[in-house]
């Protein structure tokens, strides 16, 4: 029985359409991908691709390229209605199949074969179909049982051409089938260099390169992800490569491309399919379902990152490797802008000097309390003392070395990410409250938080609070304190300190009088603050002298000096004068 593959389509346009389909793929060897895809859809457990060369007269001989599968095979009906027909796929819409179009087999003709021989069997029917060079075919029923489908492509060529196939076929299969769920092998059974044939395994594990690599499983979909500064994106259906790229915009929407900028991903999903020309993936409703799963996987990867960061931050002691790892992970976190802030508020992702982790929530509370958030690169006696006073100092760099342009961030130091994250998540925490949100309408909350991030050295002055106060000093301090209180500017207490530096300020203030005195925020309630006056400051000395002659004036001047230095409640001037006169 002989029939012509093309003319049976009964369409004059089919000839040119056929030619277009034959040559549609970038590389003639891509036909092996098509045959592998058909074998996978046929449920074959393995695909054996092999080649042999039979030398002829002169240099030219016959090259036989075989693709054997052990799947469902074909009966006469399938041969007539699908194998030898274009666009006659029975797989359309079936989520358990990769192929959709019914055009895969014809791509073998791109190799310009002399003949293509197909042996196939199904349900006790065994057939031989021979396609000739002109693409007409003959179909013969055979007696010998055949399991699955065995295709042999005969090509005329010399040993060089044969070696090109031997080199090219496994490379093509690796490119398109490396993660195939079906085992695929290639074997050159006639090595022209002599020696024994060698079986090349095409399959490799489905994973991605990068940090924190993780696998996410969903029904019918498997996603491998990892952080990688130079990400790759691979799309697969049952392990068959649909597309692979390093350009996020080629496969994602703009917003998702932005989110995936530093994440390598391989997604194997029943929802994905390639276009007719196999050059990219179809973006349809099923693609959208796959992308939803990808977003879930990304959230999972971020969760993993946060957990790792949190675990590292809370470790009692760090090795150098752990410190570098923490810095690197934190950098990943800093560069990921699209993270649900609720996920992070209560996670102790920041490392406090001298042990323990601190969460954005805790830093927000500290900012409310102290008006500042302390960050230091290294620990010191100062940070040690602050820890004793329940003031955590976060390990990091306070606002240095971060360059930003067009949403891009670059760090000049591994710990630069800390201040960026502190500012970002304390801001988000603040604006998550009603008042914070209202505030953000009128004020740059992020700028405010960023300004509050500072180094402890910029805030704290190591002072020695005087153990004893001279009667004249006490009188002056009490008088000034009374003036302030009467004027409605109440301070908790006032004492003197011994300066340890020549440039020590006139006043220092804190919630407690101790060896570390710090300037509180302008918004802090003064009644909670204790004030210490630099007893050796020339101004204080002059006021002590003044007190001997005009004590009320001295009280007023000291009180006024404090308000001037603090730049607060200056409008209470008249009240202070009245209060001083009343003393």
């Amino acid at each position: 029985m002989s029939t012509d593959l093309v003319r049976t389509a009964e369409d004059a346009a089919t000839d040119s359409l056929f030619e277009n389909l034959v040559t549609q793929f970038a590389d003639a060897l891509d036909c092996f991908r098509e045959l592998a895809q058909n074998a996978m859809d046929a449920g074959s457990p393995q695909i054996e691709v092999w080649s042999e060369f039979e030398a002829g007269e002169g240099h030219v001989g016959t090259i036989a390229l075989h693709v054997d599968d052990f799947g469902d095979g074909m009966d006469e009906n399938i041969i007539d209605s699908q194998l030898t027909r274009l666009f006659a796929s029975a797989k359309e819409g079936d989520l358990t199949k990769i192929g959709k179009f019914g055009i895969g087999f014809v791509s073998v003709f791109a190799l310009k074969p002399q003949a293509v021989l197909v042996h196939t069997g199904r349900a006790g029917e065994y057939w031989e179909v021979l396609f000739h060079e002109d693409r007409s075919f003959s179909k013969t029923k055979i007696d010998n049982p055949v399991e699955g489908t065995q295709i042999t492509i005969f090509v005329k060529g010399d040993s060089k051409k044969y070696n090109d196939f031997v080199f090219g076929i496994p490379n093509t299969l690796k490119r398109w089938c490396e993660h195939s769920e079906t085992e695929i092998t290639f074997e050159d059974r006639t090595p022209t260099s002599g020696g024994n044939s060698r079986i090349v395994k095409i399959n490799s594990p489905f994973d991605v390169q990068g940090e924190l690599a993780a696998m996410f499983e969903y029904p019918g979909t498997q996603i491998a992800m990892a952080f990688n500064p130079y990400p790759e994106y691979g799309f697969y259906n049952r392990g068959l490569t649909l597309t692979k790229t390093t350009v996020a915009d080629n496969v994602f929407s703009a917003s998702r491309a932005q989110r995936m900028q530093r994440i390598s991903v391989k997604i194997k999903s029943r929802y994905l399919e390639h276009t007719l020309s196999r050059d990219t993936i179809v973006r349809d409703a099923n693609y959208a379902k796959a992308m939803q799963l990808m977003d879930q996987a990304r959230d999972g990867l971020i969760q993993k990152l946060v957990s790792e960061v949190e675990e590292l931050a809370q470790k009692q002691q760090w090795s150098i490797e752990e410190m570098n790892l923490y810095a690197r992970f934190l950098e990943f976190l800093a560069l990921e802008r699209d993270i649900d802030p609720q996920l992070l508020f209560n996670r102790k992702i920041f490392r406090a000097h001298h042990g323990g982790g601190v969460s954005p929530e805790e830093l927000w509370e500290i900012k409310k309390r102290d008006g500042r958030i302390l960050i230091a690169e290294t620990g010191s006696d100062l940070t040690q003392s602050l820890k004793r006073l329940n003031v955590p100092v976060v390990m990091g760099r306070s606002g240095k070395g971060v360059q930003m342009w067009d949403n891009e961030v670059e760090f000049s130091h591994p710990l630069d990410g800390v201040s960026l994250l502190v500012a970002r998540y304390v801001t988000k925490r603040e604006t998550s409250t009603f008042w914070g949100m209202v505030k953000s309408w009128f004020k740059d909350v992020h700028g405010d938080v960023t300004a509050a991030i500072t180094s402890p050295d910029m805030v704290y002055l190591p002072v020695q609070v005087a153990k004893e106060t001279a009667p004249s000093e006490k009188a002056l301090l009490d008088g000034a304190l009374k003036c302030l209180k009467s004027a409605g500017t109440d301070y908790k207490e006032m004492s003197v300190f011994e300066p340890t530096a020549v440039d020590a300020p006139f006043f220092v203030m804190a919630t407690e009088l101790n060896e570390l005195m710090a300037r509180p925020s302008l918004h802090a309630d003064t009644s909670s603050l204790a004030v210490a006056v630099n007893r050796e400051h020339p101004h204080f000395q002059r006021l002590l002298e003044l007190q001997e002659r005009k004590p009320q004036m001295a009280y007023y001047c000291l009180a006024k000096s404090l308000l001037l230095q603090e730049d607060r409640n200056l409008h209470f001037d008249m009240e202070i004068i009245k209060a001083a006169r009343g003393t």
Partner: protein, 336 residues
């Protein structure tokens, strides 16, 4: 005789270590050579599962290997032993701690407790990485929704009471609004079979594909395209109950592995039986029942194909082919 369930026994033979070693190392090769497609239980899982029954793997931790004399496959007890060991392997490795430490301690007393623990460590290490096959697993895969119908592929893998491994695969579709649902599809397009359907299919595994197709086709709203039963076994060895026709071959060449296929489907064009070990159900039932099947065939429009492929020693392929031809069949035979 090994106890299969309480009060029930299967005829079995216990292989000594040498026999077990030869058996368990041969089985993965046989499974690989069989090239089982998606109609059969997972070949690498089954090969891997039997492979770890090798005394070289369990290092003498188990005594002997029990094999079902009817099928040449390990008994249910032998399969479950591996399954239970695999379930605790990861935990046991944690408990046993460092291999280096065990090795150091074991070197001081090769017969002592640490030597046993080292053997356990190595066994569990191999077990956690070995392919396994579930002894009973049912899955419904959602294929598509079309014209008010949901299309499914149902598969059930099971170590059957007859001692062979079976995959029952059913391609079917149901009217979405049908009251008698076999599976429900959730918003993730994941199909979950109903309990009643699961019980039904479990009952069918010992029966043939035609019976199952006819039974399922009687369910309201259900359209069955195909029922395929792929069977691993029986395998014939010198120590199994081997049919007379194969006995001499088995003595000479060591084994015959058989893999049955029983398919009832709308797209099978002719009734064919290419399985020398079974016959059509219609030939085994009474005339009255056979008439019922005949009516069902006309109504549903299916036909039945039975096949069996074989794996034997490469040197015996031609000889086995002649034997099978003598039984009126022409089957696939792979050599290993």
């Amino acid at each position: 005789m090994a106890e299969f369930m309480r009060g029930a026994t299967v005829p079995s033979v216990t292989l000594d270590d040498d026999e077990a070693r030869a058996y368990a190392s041969r089985m993965p090769r046989i499974m690989r050579a069989s090239r089982l497609n998606s109609h059969y239980p997972n070949a690498s899982g089954l090969g891997g599962h039997i492979g770890v029954m090798n005394p070289d793997v369990h290092r003498g931790l188990h005594k002997g290997l029990e094999v079902d004399e009817r099928t040449g496959l390990p008994t249910y007890k032998a399969f479950t032993k591996v399954q239970s060991d695999a379930a605790v392997a990861a935990n046991q490795l944690n408990v046993l701690g460092s291999r280096e430490v065990l090795e150091r301690k074991a070197a001081r007393d090769p017969e002592g407790i640490y030597a046993k623990q080292l053997a356990k460590y190595d066994y569990y290490s191999q077990l956690v990485n070995a392919d396994q096959i579930p002894l009973g697993h049912m899955e419904v895969r959602y294929r598509k929704r079309d014209n008010g119908r949901d299309y499914f592929n149902v598969s059930l893998d099971k170590l059957d009471v007859s001692g062979v491994f079976v995959r029952y695969a059913i391609d079917c579709s149901q009217v979405i609004s049908s009251s008698d649902q076999i599976a429900k599809v959730d918003e993730r397009e994941v199909a979950q079979h109903t309990d009643s359907f699961r019980s039904l299919i479990y009952q069918f595994t010992s029966l043939d594909a035609e019976f199952t197709l006819v039974k399922l086709a009687s369910m309201a709203g259900l359209d069955v395209e195909r029922v395929v039963k792929g069977t691993v076994g029986p395998f014939y060895f010198p120590f199994t109950n081997t049919p007379d026709v194969f006995a001499e071959f088995v003595e000479k060449h060591g084994f015959i592995a058989t893999f049955g296929l029983d398919m009832a489907a709308n797209d099978v064009t002719d009734d064919r039986n290419n399985d020398p070990l079974t016959s059509f159900i219609m030939k085994t039932v009474s005339d009255e029942v056979a008439e019922g099947y005949g009516i069902a065939r006309q109504r549903i429009g299916y036909k039945v194909f039975k096949d069996r492929k074989f794996v034997c020693a490469r040197a015996g392929v031609n000889e086995l082919r002649e034997i099978i031809k003598g039984l009126g069949c022409n089957t696939i035979i792979y050599g290993v």
